[in-house]
Subunit: 109 residues, 2 copies
Amino acid sequence: MGLIKSEIFTDEQNELALFAKAFGHPARVAILQHLFKINSCVCGDLVHEIGLAQPTISQHLKELKNLGLIKGNIEGTSVCYCIDSKNWSGMKETMFEFLNQDTAKENCC
Amino acid sequence: MGLIKSEIFTDEQNELALFAKAFGHPARVAILQHLFKINSCVCGDLVHEIGLAQPTISQHLKELKNLGLIKGNIEGTSVCYCIDSKNWSGMKETMFEFLNQDTAKENCC
DNA sequence: TTTGTATATTGCAATATTACGATTAATAAT
DNA sequence: ATTATTAATCGTAATATTGCAATATACAAA
């Protein structure tokens, strides 16, 4: 199959999984870290910085963009990609809620 | 290819991606939420709770166990799975550092 | 208009993931 | 000993992901 049965899970579970999946590849982690580091970016830099072929980087950027975590502004012949702060904050909220489930719990084993 | 080029990324980037990938499937999200909720669990409950076949749940549990996020104690004929609090905290630290990169940054676009 | 530069898209091969039926292993109950 | 119960493993089909070469697109510069 290879097909996730999304219909049996809640919207929250599916949303969180989609966000997490975005971070589930080291290239996308590296892209986001680089975008934060220089606070503005063109794709060309990323190809050089990360060491994957241009189509591959472009594909990863597209995924992050579709999720809303980054946005791209065309500037002449190149594209300025950067973090979408508002959406990043929203995503963080979702992740924090999930990650902090352990507070106020005792261990059983 | 379908093969991640881990060797071109840092250990931190690869580790974070592995943790994130664990949350990148709604079934594993649901499993972890359920484990937190009842604070102790046997696999059978999860099969009933989540609605996937027993081998599928077992496989997801194995992945979470391999990552160290949960541990399983055999109790008679069933297995008691629960969160590994220590490792969960460590994972949280890693994720928080990544998610909080945006603090102390100004927007560019 | 041609040439160069930067990014996106297409097509494809290789590998990974998801899901489950069938089976196995291990213990509990009778 | 036999049977029932629970969970792991095996095998396999279907789908997804990763990565890149080739190509297309879009704009700038000459």
